[in-house]
Symmetry: C2
């Protein structure tokens, strides 16, 4: 049974639900306040996706694809609720039926920034903060907030970032905390590539595909279900999905009904189809088969 979304829960380092990864970091928080899907913290897989508040369409699309792929592999997507890349990551995780955690620079009863994604994360995800209730966002909260984004996560993926930006602070926290840092390259004539290219020069792993992150952190992910149920890859599923999409665009629910494929397996196939350019997402949550020019 879902809790009232307006209530918050305080947890402390000695408690049973305290995130074990926070025991490894310097300057751990004294307490955490939670609001929303508290079960998200029970997962064993967390990856942060962070980036610019002024991303390019390319960055937004990649943030969404990475988040969907992670969610389909049972990974909780951690981010900072900011506009742009953070919001696309939270929304992508929820779109794929996964879990997501927004770590705030204000208290959980005063989430910032407000907006559609914030509302959705309150409803479907988890807000998390070290600030006592009634705390407004302050500029100096955010650099320290970033240590919790990385501290809660197995790795940090930076999608797009300016040369000087909060995302680089998160990446540096991650490196200090011994977390893997992945950075997505982009066009050199885009200022939003400066930060990720800087990270790659400093030793971050260049990443092209979310499956590389999953393989690095958790081994081959697409055939493994973290819930313990085997998730066999069936090459026929692709054919079945593509055949259904050849006559009309369909939503995930319609595809589940039409194909009989289990929803998590279906999402995996859709994400892979998007990554390989065979499937595109159309307005209204519809999936569309991409026609190849002959």
């Amino acid at each position: 049974m879902k809790k009232d979304k307006k209530t918050s829960l305080r947890i402390d380092p000695k408690g049973p639900t305290w995130p074990s990864k926070l025991e490894e970091i310097d300057a751990p928080p004294e307490s955490l306040w939670l609001r929303g899907d508290e079960d998200a913290l029970a997962s064993s897989r967390f990856v942060a996706i962070v980036g610019s508040r002024s991303p390019t369409p390319y960055g937004l699309e990649q943030a969404r694809l990475f988040a969907m792929s992670f969610a389909a592999a049972g990974v909780v997507v951690v981010s900072g609720l900011a506009r742009g890349i953070d919001a696309a990551a939270h929304a992508g995780a929820l779109d794929a039926g996964g879990e997501t955690i927004a770590v705030l620079g204000s208290s959980v009863d005063r989430p910032w920034p407000r907006g559609e994604v914030a509302t959705r994360v309150i409803e479907e995800g988890l807000l998390l903060s070290e600030h006592p209730l009634g705390t407004d966002p302050r500029p100096h909260h955010f650099p320290l907030r970033n240590r919790l984004i990385s501290g809660l996560s197995d790795a940090v993926v930076v999608i797009e970032a300016a040369a000087r930006s909060g995302s680089l602070i998160t990446a540096h926290w991650a490196a200090d905390q011994g977390r893997d840092v992945f950075a997505l390259p982009g066009r050199v004539d885009q200022p939003m590539s400066r930060g990720t290219h800087k990270l790659i020069r400093e030793g971050a792993s260049l990443v092209e595909d979310p499956r590389e992150v999953l393989a690095e952190l958790y081994g081959a992910p697409s055939t493994e279900d973290p819930s313990g149920e085997a998730l066999a890859e069936d090459p026929q599923e692709d054919d079945i999905i593509m055949a259904r999409l050849s006559t009309e665009d369909l939503t995930v629910d319609e595809l589940v009904a039409a194909t009989g494929i289990e929803v998590r397996a279906l999402l995996n196939r859709l994400v892979e189809g998007e990554l390989s350019g065979l499937i595109a997402r159309a307005p209204g949550g519809l999936y569309r088969r991409v026609r190849r020019r002959s």
Copy 2:
């Protein structure tokens, strides 16, 4: 006085004009045939620019910008005459008034591929080959040809390349020969980024800007003229150029006449303007001031 472009010259390892850099490599050629601007070999600065025959517009633009920037710094641009990135590199070097060398997989009297750029390199640049006159291009010539592209050069810059491609062979020759390898990143959803990202993962330097290559190889290039004449950077020149371009688009020759700025300095300013997005090239060899959205 220019020589007849139809004649070729054979040089040998003991001769005075033999490229000294070829003395450093394994399996040096027994002879070289030259056709065109033989003086190009007298330079002390050579950088190879190579890449895909099926590039994106982004790759073509970057190849041109890198070549123009190198040429403006007195660097001879070495490449393989292929369509796509190679052709854009040769043309960019010549557009900027610089020198360029095309290393062939056929003999210099049978250059391949034919086309506008090949014709132009014969007229204004240097064709170079280890194959005796009368040799047609053969597939097995090109991987070995690539060892000369890197062998003649201080460094190799790979602009765009598929996951398996001749450009990667050139880069591997370069690494074996102790040459620096630079690779331009791009969008992860472009197959033409696969090869350059692979090189970066293998240890090539991620490069965003041709000035990084110049600085790495030759020290600060923009204030140094390899001919020995000091080329002072005058910040007022930018203002003068932008003022002239604010009323109309102009060619390089028109800008020289209108501003009184020396042509090499002007080209330097134009390349920098293009790199920073302040100036764009319009059809007809015109330069245009880019209006910022306010």
